[in-house]
């Protein structure tokens, strides 16, 4: 069966592997290789640079948000115009007794007494510190003590960057006298939104985010995984399932604000669920997260080798046993990856939550999923809109908290994924 080689074939000259043409081609190949590597490296360096810029500028701006300026004020309680028997503060009615005192006037008086003219630089909310100190230790009422009271917003800004000339002068004076000090602002981590930037805290928004994420996860994970399992393992392949698949893919790409409108129309207007609540926020975000989980889940389930299904069916496992004993455990790491991506997106979502009223001014942390709440990104948005200069660092500090939240959430998910990962 030896067909004659065509004459043109026979006339081909032997390839000159060492010739000049060949050398030039090799050089061109090498340089294109080098060029491609350089472009790739530049892309990586650029994205790393942007990331570093973001992190550094956030830390630079936000780190001071976790501290505050405090003024040491000598308070002579026995001489102060309060008539409380310390014994009454140890019993049941302590809060009522405390409420009967005009702490604001007392604080102003003490500040003026101790600092003279500079007493005006005490924060409007400083009386809270004084009240809490007395509440914690009623014996203070019989003593003269030095309390560290937070300084006002203007002085705080003067201390950290550049404030008004008067504030700068006052800070220089107080700093020299050793009265002004810098301390960690624990209240920022434990309190909620306020109108005065020295009093604001992130805990309310943090807890709101936590509750909202819990609702989102509890709704979207089981529903998404079960939908993915049904579509992959049970549903027949026909026009209907094709249509469902296309719809799910489209849902994953719908802008989030539209989910917000849907939440407003359905959960608030039709179902009359509480406005501004973590429950409704979580439900709205669950709608947004579910398609992501379904798509990732289907891909993960598809990637489970069919031989494992055969093996289980071959020794008489029922379809549901095949799914829950073999397919789901093997697909779980992939499903979790999709869930992380979906939840991370939900955590950073602002627009749909504005639609359902989670942008309200919430001065106390939510007690449950039906209480009015706000979430970290919305809080950041609200603070970034404030006029007072003191909110700038608070905004950055809140961003740091949000990023840490995101990072810890992802770390837990990656840990779980690696734990469940099986190799074969």
């Amino acid at each position: 069966m030896n067909a004659p080689i065509p004459s043109t074939e026979r006339r081909r000259a032997p390839t000159d592997w060492k010739g000049a043409d060949m050398q030039k081609r090799i050089a061109a190949r090498y340089s294109s290789e080098r060029r491609f590597r350089m472009i790739g490296l530049t892309a990586i360096l650029m994205s790393a640079g942007f990331l570093a810029f973001l992190l550094i500028s956030m830390l630079h701006e936000g780190a001071s948000g976790f501290t505050r300026t405090e003024l040491a004020v000598r308070v002579d309680f026995p001489k102060a115009p309060i008539v409380i028997d310390p014994a009454t503060l140890r019993g049941e009615g302590a809060d009522a007794v405390l409420a009967s005192v005009n702490w604001q006037a007392l604080t102003d008086q003490a500040a003026t007494g101790a600092l003279g003219q500079d007493g005006v630089w005490i924060a409007p909310g400083a009386w809270l510190v004084m009240r809490d100190a007395v509440k914690a230790d009623p014996s203070l009422l019989q003593k003269s003590v030095t309390l560290s009271l937070p300084a006002s917003d203007d002085l705080d800004i003067a201390a950290k960057s550049d404030g008004s000339p008067e504030a700068e002068a006052a800070y220089a004076r107080l700093d020299k006298a050793g009265i002004a000090t810098r301390a960690v602002n624990w209240d920022f981590l434990t309190s909620s939104d306020a109108t005065d930037p020295t009093q604001v805290g992130i805990w309310g928004a943090f807890k709101g985010s936590l509750l909202t994420m819990a609702v989102t996860l509890l709704l979207s994970f089981p529903v998404g995984v079960l939908a993915a399992l049904y579509l992959e393992e049970y549903a027949p392949r026909n026009r209907w399932t094709d249509m469902i698949e296309v719809s799910i893919n489209n849902l994953a790409a719908v802008p989030s604000i539209i989910f917000g409108l849907l939440g407003l129309a359905v959960f608030l207007n039709v179902m009359h669920l509480p406005r501004s609540a973590a429950l409704v926020g979580g439900m709205t975000l669950a709608l947004m997260t579910m398609p992501v989980i379904v798509i990732a889940g289907r891909n993960a389930i598809k990637a489970v080798p069919p031989s494992i299904r055969d093996a289980a069916l071959g020794i008489g496992a029922s379809p549901i046993q095949v799914v829950f004993h073999h397919v789901l455990p093997l697909a779980l790491p992939g499903i979790m990856t999709g869930t992380i991506i979906g939840m991370a997106r939900a955590l950073g979502e602002t627009a749909p939550l504005l639609m359902i009223g989670m942008r309200a001014f919430i001065a106390s942390p939510p007690g449950g999923i039906t209480d009015p709440a706000t979430v970290l990104p919305v809080q950041i948005f609200l603070w970034s809109d404030e006029v007072s200069k003191g909110f700038v660092e608070k905004t950055s500090a809140a961003i740091i908290v949000l990023l840490l939240f995101l990072l810890s959430m992802n770390s837990i998910a990656i840990y779980l994924r690696n734990k469940f990962e099986r190799r074969w």
């Binding site: 027949p236 055969d310 289980a312 020794i315």
Partner: protein, 256 residues
């Protein structure tokens, strides 16, 4: 030719379709416990398809349709009264590519007995695991590392683990779909030896591409070609004195 009195499984006029395409035409065959039955034939002749109809594994293919009658101990396995899950426990299967679960060796064997409720106490399960691994000829190699993953074993060991897994649910029939095609000659020899030992206890049907293997392990051979059963008889007769020209051409290497 040893012929047992009652066949364990018998097929009568079986046709299999994948959608419009007919994969098996009018096959009738009996399988018994005393003999190992080998299905041979060129690629695409339908021998694997037919094997998979014997424990209804073809049910997982949406477009597959089976006509005719296949009985296990006289009971039609395609009747509505037959529970597929139980059928597959009674008619076990070993696949072409070793497919242990990504679980421990112990759990691989114990999985079947567990889901079928064959053992309640841990001690009972231990006995089943040991006896199944012994019968699969794997016990001595793995007895000290039952907690290791089944996927960490070599290919031949994995395949014996899969045979042990099938044995653990005490099936009546074991179907083997080219069990040695992914194994080296030494591992193949071990599996063949194992098949010899299991003969008589289980009805064994083996699909193979390797004619020498069919000659070595089986007592009865069925030759399939283009979806039809060309010839079925004792192995020695098929290989030495085939009745059909097509069989003769195939076993002498003219095609396939």
């Amino acid at each position: 030719m040893p012929q047992s009195s009652t066949p364990k499984m018998s097929a009568r006029n079986v046709n299999v379709f994948y959608g419009e395409k007919q994969a098996i035409q009018n096959v009738s065959i009996d399988v018994d416990t005393d003999n190992v039955t080998a299905f041979i034939g060129p690629s695409g002749c339908g021998k694997s398809t037919f094997l998979r109809t014997l424990n209804r594994m073809n049910d997982t293919v949406a477009s597959a349709r089976v006509e005719g009658e296949i009985t296990l101990d006289g009971e039609n396995i395609y009747s509505s009264g037959m529970d597929v899950v139980q059928l597959r426990a009674r008619v076990g299967m070993v696949f072409q590519k070793p497919n242990p679960f990504p679980k421990s060796i112990y759990d691989n064997i114990a999985y079947g007995p567990r889901i079928h409720g064959l053992a309640s106490a841990k001690a009972d399960l231990d006995v089943i695991v040991e006896s199944s691994l012994r019968r699969a000829g794997l016990w001595d190699e793995v007895k000290d590392r039952l907690k290791d993953s089944g996927t960490a074993l070599s290919g031949g060991q994995q395949q014996r683990l899969c045979i042990g897994r099938a044995i653990a649910v005490e099936p009546e029939v074991i179907l083997m779909d080219e069990p040695c095609s992914a194994l080296d000659p030494i591992a193949t020899a071990k599996i063949e030896e194992l098949i010899h030992e299991l003969r008589g206890r289980y009805a064994i049907v083996i699909v193979t591409h390797n004619m020498q293997q069919a000659a070595r392990v089986s007592q009865r051979t069925a030759f399939f070609h283009l979806g039809t059963l060309v010839e079925y008889g004792s192995t020695s007769e098929i290989f030495t004195n085939p009745r059909e020209d097509r069989t003769k051409d195939y076993i002498t290497g003219r095609y396939g």
